[in-house]
Every structure is written in structure tokens, then in C-alpha cells.
């Protein structure tokens, strides 16, 4: 369990999209590839100005498909790469996510989620949880997913994301939403820098060494199975060591709200109001959506009378909560779709309903 980041002394106001972009630059991002899409165009525009200033690579590609595939090439050639998009653009990146996972290429991909499905809306949403944690491309693979709930946290998770991607040789998704991307918040303008990428497998020209190949094709089934076993071992390693979540006010909680990103901030306000009304409520805030903090929820569930999952979606993370809890406590859900954001009093209402319905439930102490 991690503690929430504390605010430093120095603060500047930064827009989320721009803060994420600058965090990547300070973390040593060598190349950015993107395509304009609301609500993350500011990220691309920040990069368009800053990367050429620094002599680094910037390309506005012909599509998100082009952008992510450029990132594949740049990563294969040893660069630290950022790509950003929003939900419909992420759908176009599905193919390359599979190829990058299979080829074991580190790339950080930022999804500033908006309402869907289809063209949807440009309002904030969390309806890409399935896509990020279980979907995008074909084949047996997982991708670490990090979900900030403040701009300050997004800045920190950018560096963490690059670090994760390179330590494990995997794409990593930073899952934000339109509110985080567009809002301005006070942040510490000191960004974490990372040492440059250094590896023995990326491409630089076979000068005085045997040629290297970056690929995902293993045509013989026996060979592909071995490769999949290797990937599986990596994912188990990540699941063991890279779970991130935060608990707030859980010590005496009888109900836990489970929420991430912007939903967690709304939930925090609702929980404060619930506490004022005498209800013992706490918050479980996953930061890594994959690997999901399933073990923590399983440990917590027996002493809760209910969990209330809040998402800006029709209910996606709630399924992982159910899997983790395995029936040890009842689970309630409150969500809004289409780009709508629940008000704190809606969430408070859901908490009260859960409280009333489970009045007779006895819990483990």
C-alpha cells in the first residue's frame, strides 16, 4: 500500500494534458507521435512546440494507427517514446499494442478517455477500462495500466510508466480522462528524470556485431508457446511487484467505495459527507488497474458490509471487483455514462442505499 503524494512547497498551475507532456519530456522522452483528438490535443500541441526546441522527434502522424506504429519503430530503435490519444484513437492502436506486447517493446501510451462507444462525446469517461486492461489487440498478453486521479499524480506516473515499460519491456498505458486532461491544478514543477534507455537488443545497425531482429512472429507453435510462457512469467512478475493502490479512512470502515481517477475524487467528497452523517465509509483507490489490487480487496471484503463501486461508465472495473471479492461481501454500483460526471450527492445516495440494504449484515471483526 502506498501513501498518497504530499503537496510540495512550490506550486504552479498546469493543465493536465500539458503537465503530462512536460513530465514525459523531463523524464527523457526522445520521441512523440500523435494525432489530434479531443480532449488531448493540448498534449500534442505542447510536444509540437517543445520537442523540436530540444532537438527531439515529433511527428503528427496521419492517424493514430500511424502514430502508434511509428512509436513501435522508434522503440525498436532504442528510443523512449510517448504516444497519446483518446478513446476512438485508442481503438486504432489495438493492432500495434498486440505487436508491441509480442515484440516486447517499451512505449508509454496516454489515453485521455472520453464518452463512447463510437464517436460518442468529448466529455470525460472511464469506459475504456475493459479496453485498457483486457482488450485492444489480439493474443495472450497484458499491459500495465496506471490511473492517476490528480494532475500531480499524473506527472509522477509518467516517469513510473516509462520506468515500468523499460524494466519489463512492455507497452504501458496511462489512463486519464477528459477532466484530468483539461483541468488546471497546482503542481510541483520539479519533474522526475530517468537515465537514458540502455539495452542490448534494440536496433542501431549491425556494426561489428551480429544483426538483431525485433519481431513477434514465431511460426512454429512449439516456439510460440515458449514465447508465450516467457511473456506469462513476465506478467506474473509484474502482478507480484507492481500493484499500486491507496486506501483512505479504511481502518474503521464498514463500507468501502472503490473508484479510480476522477471518480475517486468525487467519491472522496461523498465519503466526507457520509462521515459527517455518521456512516463509517472509506475509499479504495486503485492506481494500477492492471495489475489490479485484487488481493487487497479480497483481504478487506470480509470485514465490510458492502462495497460501492463508482465509475464514469456502465460498469467495467466493477467486474474485477466482483472477481476479487468472490462473494465475500455484497457489491453495489453507481455509474454515469456519455461524458456525464456523477455529483458527490449521487454517490452519497448510493452509499446510503448500500448502507440501508445491508443493515442486517454481520461482518468479520
Amino acid at each position: 500500500m502506498m501513501t498518497a503524494p504530499t503537496f510540495p512547497d512550490e506550486r504552479v498551475l498546469m493543465k493536465g494534458n500539458e503537465a503530462i507532456a512536460e513530465a514525459a519530456i523531463q523524464a527523457g522522452c526522445d520521441a512523440y507521435f500523435g494525432y489530434p483528438i479531443t480532449p488531448q490535443a493540448e498534449l500534442l500541441e505542447w510536444m509540437a512546440r517543445r520537442m523540436p526546441e530540444l532537438g527531439r522527434a515529433f511527428v503528427q502522424a496521419e492517424s493514430e494507427l500511424g502514430a502508434i506504429t511509428m512509436a513501435l519503430g522508434a522503440s525498436a530503435a532504442g528510443a523512449r517514446v510517448l504516444v497519446s490519444s483518446s478513446s476512438p484513437g485508442m481503438s486504432l492502436m489495438a493492432e500495434a499494442m498486440s505487436y508491441m506486447a509480442g515484440s516486447e517493446l517499451p512505449v508509454l501510451v496516454v489515453n485521455v478517455m472520453r464518452g463512447g462507444p463510437g464517436l460518442g462525446s468529448i466529455g470525460p469517461a472511464q469506459s475504456d477500462y475493459f479496453q485498457a486492461t483486457k482488450g485492444h489487440g489480439h493474443g495472450d498478453y497484458r499491459v500495465p495500466v496506471l490511473a492517476p486521479s490528480s494532475i500531480a499524480e499524473a506527472i509522477a506516473l509518467v516517469a513510473d510508466g516509462f520506468d515500468l515499460a523499460e524494466r519489463y519491456r512492455t507497452p504501458v498505458i496511462l489512463l486519464a480522462d477528459g477532466i484530468l486532461g483539461q483541468a488546471m491544478e497546482p503542481v510541483n514543477p520539479h519533474f522526475r528524470s530517468l537515465p537514458p534507455r540502455h539495452d542490448d537488443w534494440s536496433l542501431s545497425g549491425a556494426d561489428g556485431r551480429p544483426p538483431r531482429v525485433v519481431r513477434s512472429l514465431h511460426l512454429r507453435p512449439e516456439d510460440l508457446e515458449v514465447h508465450n510462457d516467457h511473456l506469462g512469467a513476465k506478467y506474473r512478475d509484474i502482478a507480484t511487484h507492481e500493484v499500486r493502490w491507496v486506501g483512505e479512512r479504511l481502518d474503521d470502515a464498514e463500507i468501502a467505495v472503490v473508484a479510480y481517477g476522477t471518480a475517486a475524487r468525487v467519491a472522496r467528497t461523498a465519503i466526507a459527507r457520509a462521515r459527517e452523517a455518521g456512516l463509517a465509509v472509506g475509499l479504495v483507490r486503485p492506481i494500477s488497474l492492471w495489475p489490479f489490487p485484487a488481493a487487497a480487496l479480497a483481504r478487506l471484503a470480509p470485514r465490510l458490509r458492502a462495497l460501492v463501486v463508482v465509475e464514469l461508465s456502465a460498469g467495467q472495473m466493477v467486474e474485477d471487483v466482483r472477481l476479487a471479492v468472490e462473494g465475500q461481501a455484497p457489491i453495489f454500483f453507481h455509474g454515469r455514462t456519455g461524458g456525464m460526471v456523477p455529483a458527490p450527492d449521487e454517490v452519497l445516495g448510493a452509499i446510503r442505499r448500500a448502507w440501508a440494504i445491508t443493515a442486517d449484515r454481520t461482518v468479520a471483526t
Binding site: 526522445d30 520521441a31 507521435f33 522527434a57 511527428v59 502522424a61 496521419e62 492517424s63 494507427l65 500511424g66 506504429t69 511509428m70 512509436a71 513501435l72 519503430g73 522508434a74 522503440s75 525498436a76 530503435a77 532504442g78 528510443a79 517514446v81 493492432e95 500495434a96 505487436y99 515484440s103 536496433l203 542501431s204 545497425g205 549491425a206 556494426d207 561489428g208 544483426p211 538483431r212 531482429v213 525485433v214 519481431r215 513477434s216 512472429l217
Partner: protein, 271 residues
């Protein structure tokens, strides 16, 4: 004529001048290509040119999806596999982060002119300093012989069993002529591996395309008309004859544009 390295013959003969030997950049692995397949000739020409120009040690090449998916097993170069059609985008990514590398994309007709049309058009529009080798045999060999965007009208394939009918399947795509319209394209040419004379010209085009990248930092594409004996249902020699006699009517040979040698030339045979 390639003289890759003057050497003593291994059969114990008197020290003769080597007129031709297998280029060093070809690996020892025998290719999986069908007998008479043009890919083998194009790989060989690439190995010769890159060897002559000393570019092997700094080449980063991009392999396609198609029969040439295993190109990385046959050429001694750093290689990255691209998803189908995406080689120009992958090459762009490599190009932008490795300024000193020589960047090569190798693609077939489905890869470049069907699924990858957006990627090649925009890499060319951006004038990416990459060299694209486009092997056009008018058919999808790897998947069993279906129609390609460059399949000729009337040509029988497994997805045009009655012969390609323009009314339902459209016309062959002159993608290289289309790309040559773009100011970012430094060189666009079409050669053929049908017979030794055209092979020699194709090699010169490949060499020029590589020079364009190195000297002018511009985009270059060489389309090489090639054969697919098994897909076409012909022997290798029949395929070569068909390629020499029938294909250039739709896809004329020659340099389509060379922006660094005066005014653009118009499409035409020969040079």
C-alpha cells in the same frame, strides 16, 4: 557486374578474377521462396547494392507481412518486423530517432498498395529519408494467390477466378506514379527482374534510391515488377516471359521522377 570481393577460388584453381560471387550480406540460410520467385533476385540485388555502398553496418531494415516476412533471416541486417502495411510508419519511427542509420523498408503489393496505402502516402508526403523497395507481383502469394491492388485486368486469381473485372474489382493501382506527384518524393522508379538486362537496370535504380537517402536525405521508392510462378500458375521461365511481355503495358518501366537530376521525367520505358 558485381565484384564483391576479389578472392581465391576454393576449388584450387589458378588465381582467377572473380566475376561474381554470392554477396556477403546474404545469410547462409536458403530462402523459403518458391523456385523462380523474384524475391530471391531482389534480396540479392539489395545485398549487392548495400555491400557496394558499405551501408550494411548502419542499415535498420523493416520487414513486411507477405512472402518476405522472413527477410530478416536472409539479409544480414538489423531488422524490425512491421504489422501488415505499416512498414513506412515503422521506418519513420526509426528514421526520426536514428539520424545516422540507413533506413530501408521492404514491402509487397498488398502491404504497400492495399492495407498500407495511408502509411506510404504520408511517409512520402513528409519526405521521410527512407528507401522503399516495393516488390510488385500482382498477387498475394503468402495467403495463397488472391487478387492484389496491382493485379492486371483479366488476371485470374483465387479471389478473381473469372479474371479481374474492373466493374466489380476496380483497376490496377499505379501507386508509384501517384507517389511521384508528391514534392517530398526524391526518386520514384519502376524496374523488373524478368531478364538480365532489366535486372541490371533495376539494380541501378536500387542503388540510386539508396544514394538519394544518403546524399539528399529524401524519400526514394523503387517498384520492382516481380514474378509469382506458383500464384500465376506458370513455370518460372513462363513467369519471366509473362513479366517481360505482358505486365509493362500496365506498369511501364523507367524512372518516373528523379528530382535531383533536373526536371522530372515522364513515365516511359527505359532511361
Amino acid at each position: 557486374m558485381t565484384l564483391t570481393r576479389a578472392d581465391r577460388p576454393t576449388t584450387g584453381q589458378p588465381a582467377d578474377r572473380v566475376v561474381y560471387r554470392r554477396p556477403d550480406l546474404l545469410s547462409d540460410i536458403s530462402t523459403h521462396y518458391c523456385p523462380g520467385c523474384g524475391h530471391g533476385i531482389v534480396h540479392r540485388l539489395l545485398a549487392e547494392v548495400l555491400g557496394d555502398l558499405g551501408l550494411g553496418p548502419r542499415t535498420i531494415a523493416v520487414a513486411p507481412v507477405g512472402c518476405a516476412v522472413f527477410a530478416y533471416d536472409y539479409l544480414r541486417l538489423d531488422f524490425v518486423e512491421a504489422p501488415h502495411g505499416r512498414a513506412p510508419a515503422v521506418a519513420t519511427g526509426v528514421r526520426r530517432v536514428r539520424p545516422d542509420a540507413f533506413v530501408l523498408a521492404y514491402q509487397g503489393d498488398g502491404d504497400l498498395a492495399a492495407i498500407g496505402t495511408a502509411e506510404i502516402v504520408h511517409a512520402a508526403a513528409r519526405g521521410e529519408a527512407i528507401t522503399v523497395i516495393f516488390v510488385n507481383n500482382g498477387i498475394y502469394g503468402m495467403t495463397g494467390g488472391q487478387m492484389a491492388p496491382t493485379t492486371l485486368i483479366g488476371q485470374r486469381t483465387t479471389s478473381t477466378p473469372g479474371g479481374r473485372d474492373a466493374r466489380t474489382a476496380g483497376y490496377p493501382l499505379p501507386i508509384t506514379e501517384m507517389l511521384a506527384l508528391l514534392p517530398g518524393v526524391g526518386y520514384a522508379a519502376r524496374g523488373s527482374i524478368a531478364e538480365p538486362a532489366s535486372i541490371g537496370k533495376a539494380k541501378a535504380m536500387i542503388r540510386r534510391a539508396c544514394e538519394i537517402q544518403v546524399a539528399e536525405r529524401a524519400f526514394a521508392i523503387v517498384e520492382i515488377l516481380s514474378t509469382c510462378p506458383v500464384g500465376w500458375g506458370m513455370t518460372p521461365r513462363e513467369s519471366a516471359r509473362h513479366l517481360a511481355e505482358d505486365v509493362p503495358a500496365t506498369y511501364p518501366l523507367g524512372v518516373i521522377v528523379d528530382r535531383f537530376r533536373g526536371a522530372a521525367t515522364t513515365v516511359g520505358a527505359g532511361r
